[in-house]
Amino acid sequence: MKNTKVIELEEVAIRFSGDSGDGMQLTGTLFSDTSALLGNDISTFPDYPSEIRAPQGTVGGVSGFQVQFGKKKITTPGDLAHVLVAMNPAALKANAAYMNPGGTIIFDVDSFSEKNLEKAQFKTNDPFTELKLNDYSLIPVPITSMTKESLKELELDNKSILRCKNMFALGLICWMFDRPLDYIEGFIQKKFGKKSPIIAEANLCVVHAGYNYGMNLQHMTPQYIVHPAPIEKGIYRNVNGNLATAWGLLAAAEKSGLELFIGSYPITPATDILQALAERKDLGVKSFQAEDEIAGICTTIGAAFAGDLAVTSTSGPGFALKSEALGLSVMAELPIVVVNVQRGGPSTGLPTKTEQSDLLQTLYGRNGESPVVVLAASTPSDCFYYAFLAAKIALERMVPVVLLTDGFLGNGSEPWRVPAMSELPPITPRKAKNPETYLPYNRDPETLAREWAIPGMEGFEHRVGGLEKNNAGGVNQDPDNHQRNSEIRAAKVEKVVEMIPELEVAGEPEGDLLVVGWGGTYGHMISSVLAMQATGKKVSLAHFNYIKPLPKNTAEVFGKFKKIVVCELNMGQFASYLRDKLPEFKYNQVNKMKGLPFSVHELVENFDKLLEA
């Protein structure tokens, strides 16, 4: 074991890990919030099994929460953890591979029994040797027994006592990183104080016991110091991507003067969006939990027909079910926003794991020529802005817009400087004005957007539908009409290019390698590119938030680099889209299909290889 020391670090990643019932998500969240309040920049990554309670003590049932925080801008939750808290042998086994060499492992020595080692399928009684972790800082802490000991005065059943274990670990970690406990105390009081004072008392008691344990055993526990990050002035909050998405949609409703309707069906990892909006009856949200995914989008289309800002949220399998109806909104030219929080597929796939493999489904996964606008958010907090923009484009161009996020963004969180509503641009829905000349498919000659007349507006009565139509909304299946309308629907989406910014390059505008990414991988992409730039390599990043249409300077940006590499968490979907749209360039690929984000390390390694080749 290593000696006691005080370590000063730029950034630290901690992984809390235990059984899915051990409260690791709460522990991690409380620690993250405490760090953010202290002024550290943070990035988090919850990683949990899809079963509510997988068999106790098994590797499959391990639930983890990683947070990276530091004194500089933090863009990822960290490839490898500096500190691992393992509540049982399975947690140790599941996470050994994600440790920084020589890192610190705090483990509940009480739970490392023969029976639990067996459940985690260790072959020997020495899991550390088995996992080759001997040169790590191993800190055995009798978490279970200390928890029991500190609660012996309280009249609590054994189950309730054991549920406080996570607070002991939290207290200890707070001591290690010099975090005050006041935020956590406040949280516990608020959560349990009124309902169950005894549970509140127990949790408070245990979190202090953990903190004091660290203080008393200084001789063996390293203490880390991480200074606050210098960041922009303003009011901050911690936000995850799903909440940011929900609030971006709410902001768009307020800006556009429309009421917000969400028709959705619960699906991991998108459910939080529906929940966050259902909570906002105070802001007038009409939330409709539909009987299935199809009804989710269909009620949304109905609400758009009736004049609301109408949205639906889902993930890959649900998006597949919505495809026919999405085509209806293309044909009827109704403004809806569909949020797809992508997860691992195909089929049910990996519900709680992240992936970017719905891109081609989003672009092409419908019958007929059925173009939609496609945006992708790139960090948890910018989900707010891209959701807002998705609504703005839909309402101003009378076109369905799909916003792609993913499980990593949806569940991951970061501190966010909250904007004032006055910082956001206006949204002007295309409400019809003149009943004398109104026809549902008359268009603005510039944008090709039609006008929106909603039931209840006198003199604008009209019919729309899924059949090919004439300007009045009547059925028209003439060959030339269908040709013309197909071209118009495509051009209408392409003209959205005028609403979006040009593609930006992080780094020099020309060089040896242009790294191309899109959506939720931004944090890892920028970290790896910055790391390479720091060593003098001519590498830049072009990260896409606008997928369809592509920014108009895309080819210009690409043309200034010797090599291009497209990195994505799929088998190469954006790369093949780029090959179709801009075939004049050669695209190298880095792809990953593990249900996990990229690691900075593996990206750098790949880019180095490309530079040498």
Partner: protein, 354 residues
């Protein structure tokens, strides 16, 4: 005194009606247009939503707001329309394939939620638009293009589905009896909640005469029992037959025989929550029973779109968050300031938005 003085003509669009000559849909459309005119509600506030099928072409023939959607989804889309704007009068036009096969899930959930729409279910027991395949209401053994040796499955009884879904309103009519269809539609329009009106409709091309044994005007009095609220359940040319309950089952009796008097005959109470009797009425089939027509069930229950509105109003009365700026700054926030902090770069300044 009416406000608008509409006639059925005010609800007809200029579009050429393209149903087959002799199709039962014409009669149903006339009845619907007449009913809408009589409702005395502003023309601009009607929205007619349909799915796919012959009946679903309906919105194009109306001069109101209309939406011809996709197969099976009219109920879901209408749910969105009505929830978004409860002030609208929403009608759903659908068929047995549209609502009971591909759209079965939306149908039962619309009924369960009790959203205030009127759903007219055109039941011709066949797929007409795809030219003659069996539907979920086709009788067992029915020979069609996709069941050349007869179907081997039982059919849905639409009223059973409605009541099984806790429906608050179910009525039945026949396309060739316009006057009665209109009466039923008027009652449906009055009802607060989901009103399902099953209209036995004749497809002249692919299932001609499927309801003839019931609908033939010559035998109407003997084969159809017209239910009227608060009236005894009697039928027959001489109005001399009626229904009684015997050993828990409905039984047809003759008034004046075996000591049966009009006082023994069951009185129809559609507003009573009497599922057992109402299902028994729905199930009545020839030749043992006459077929029940009219409003079979019409009970009061909370209405989804109104409840949604009410919930928002209630929460807003005591709300702390009144706008987005309130929300953005609520809860756990902290302020960053000091000399070494930069001025914030605003998202929309950073990216050049037009």
């Amino acid at each position: 005194m009416t406000k608008f003085n509409y006639t059925a003509k005010d609800f007809k669009s200029a579009a050429e009606v393209r149903w087959c000559p002799g199709c039962g849909d014409y009669a149903i459309m006339n009845a619907v247009q007449k009913t809408m005119a009589d409702m005395d509600i502003a023309h601009k506030d009607f929205a007619v939503i349909s799915g796919i099928g012959c009946s679903s072409r309906f919105p194009y023939y109306m001069s109101t707001y209309g939406f011809h959607t996709i197969h099976g989804r009219a109920a879901a889309i209408a749910s969105g329309v009505k929830s978004a704007n409860p002030a609208l009068t929403v009608w759903v036009m659908t068929g047995d394939g549209d609502s009971l096969a591909i759209g079965g899930n939306h149908f039962i959930h619309l009924v369960r939620r009790n959203i205030n729409v009127n759903l007219v279910l055109f039941n011709n027991k066949i797929y007409g638009l795809t030219k003659g395949q069996y539907s979920p209401t086709s009788d067992r053994g029915k020979i069609t293009k996709t069941s050349p040796f007869g179907t081997i499955e039982d059919s849905f009884v639409p009223g059973q589905l409605v009541l099984g879904s806790r429906g608050t309103f179910f009525a039945r009519a026949v396309d060739n009896n316009i006057k009665h269809t209109q009466e039923v539609l008027a009652d449906a329009a009055q009802h607060k909640g989901t009103s399902v009106i099953e209209v036995l409709q004749n497809c002249v091309i692919f299932n001609d005469g499927i309801h003839e044994h019931i609908s033939d005007p010559k035998f109407r009095a003997e084969r159809q029992l017209f239910l009227k609220k608060g009236q005894p359940m009697i039928f027959g040319e001489q109005e001399d037959k009626g229904l009684i309950l015997e050993n828990g089952r409905l039984k047809v009796v003759k008034i004046g025989e075996n000591g049966v008097t009009i006082k023994d005959i069951l009185v129809h109470e559609p507003a009573e929550d009497n599922l057992g009797l109402q299902v028994a009425l729905i199930n009545m089939a020839l030749p043992e029973y006459p077929v029940a027509m009219g409003v079979i069930r019409s009970v009061e229950a909370p209405v989804y779109d109104q409840e949604m509105k009410k919930q928002i109003e209630t929460v807003q009365k005591t709300r702390k968050i009144t706008c987005m700026d309130d929300l953005l700054q609520s809860g756990n926030t902290w302020t960053v300031e000091g000399e070494n902090c930069d001025e914030p770069v605003k998202f929309f300044d950073n990216k050049c938005f037009g």
